[in-house]
Amino acid sequence: MSKQIIVPFGPQHPVLPEPIHLDLVLEDEKVVDVVPSIGYIHRGFEKLVEKREFTEYVYIAERTCGICSFIHGATYCQGIEQIMNIQVPERAEYLRVIWSEFSRLHSHLLWLGLFADAFGFENLFMGAWKTREKVLDFFEETTGGRVIQGTSKIGGVRRDISGERLDRMVKDLDDLDREMKELTDVFLHDDSVKHRLRNVGTISRNDAYHLGAVGPTARGSGVAIDLRKSGYGAYDRLNVPVVTDSCGDCYSRCAVRAKELFTSTDLIRQAVKKITEGPIDVKVTGAPDGEYFMRAEQPRGELVHYLKGNGSKFLVRSRIRTPTLTNIPPLIKMLQGCELADVPVIVLSIDPCISCTER
């Protein structure tokens, strides 16, 4: 046995958009063990729930993450609505689906760009972010914010999208689809990309399932779990295809995300077709008394918001469990036995969102 050395990876590393620290135990160039540590950007969001009224906390819940912000806000609202037995108007539910799916497009395009950057394909990185800009423009035009939308509220949504704008959006989606097809073709078919990603960071279906992988990390190993299938919000009226890939390596996880872009545009089209006219919100009176676990599918996997109220305007407890937290144990498994040079690509392949994880 050769001598073991420990190489620190992060919290500051060119490939990491956010700080996570990994102690890599190496034997020559091979990683034998990994010790992760988080805690660099804890912001105390969960404690803040005691200081802000439950109606104002929506804005704070949304700011948990800068990428899937809309889904955080909507999940929090859905949790409170479940505690208070509020029936949200149908139009609001469909609007939430439309914005959630656009969030997914935004997140996956951002990740594809970052991933391309991680394996050294700068041009592809720029291309992905150029396409993402169209999604951000849509957000700004319909909600007023590019990254933080601020349209969720308890009892519905704060802004409506006109029928004429929805029709125009569907037409724009065709252009977006074409552009994304061109982009994902490079990820899926180019041999230089395949060569870099195939058989790197492989995790078996069994390991992924038992270590609690969620989202594209699990689906990339053939575990077909997607919370949208459980039919929260308006998803029960839509046909949600679950994209899976069986290999469990970096390429599979990349392919799942690339293909999910098209399921998202498909879901938006379905939602626009089924959307009904009507009010977008209902009046909320009283305060939440009870507790609820609200689960939703984020771009990275399953998100859980636990909320507990005691009938006052301030909640007693909020607990947010983000998908990246549950994807860390599978990440450790992927890293064991890999080469040191593959570590950045593998770490990025789970789409780590550390700010969300530490809240």
Partner: protein
């Protein structure tokens, strides 16, 4: 074997105009809904302080004695909550972002609203 899949896209990009704009020389993109910064109209403000209570970032301070309305732009998260809840409609959302600053500080607006005097009908009737 498929290599150079990106070439078509790269050539298209070389021949097209840049996707970026020269900010701040060129103005940033904005839409009628864009949330830039909150503007207060002192002539309409009734000093009800609902905006202070509804601000999730606690960025607004209202002084009824000194008749001033202050906003800390560095705390404000531009969520539109105050604009939505203002009963006197004295707050509005400007689409332009605030300019970068080198020092933190608060912006103060004077409240010039004067409560209209109640019509003295009863007195007239007595006389």
């Amino acid at each position: 074997m498929v290599y150079f899949e990106m070439v078509k896209t790269a050539l298209k990009t070389v021949l097209s105009k840049p996707a970026t704009i020269l900010y701040p020389v060129q103005a940033a993109k904005k839409t009628p809904l864009s949330r830039g910064h909150v503007v207060q109209d002192g002539s309409k403000c009734i000093s009800c302080s609902i905006c202070v209570k509804k601000c999730p970032a606690q960025a607004i301070v209202l002084d009824k004695e000194a008749k001033t309305w202050q906003i800390n732009r560095f705390r404000c998260v531009v969520c539109n909550s105050c604009v939505d809840t203002c009963p006197a409609k004295c707050l509005s959302m400007d689409t332009q972002y605030t300019a970068p600053a080198t020092a933190k500080g608060v912006e103060t607006f004077a409240i010039t609203y004067v409560k209209p005097a109640k019509p003295e009908k009863k007195d007239e009737q007595k006389q």
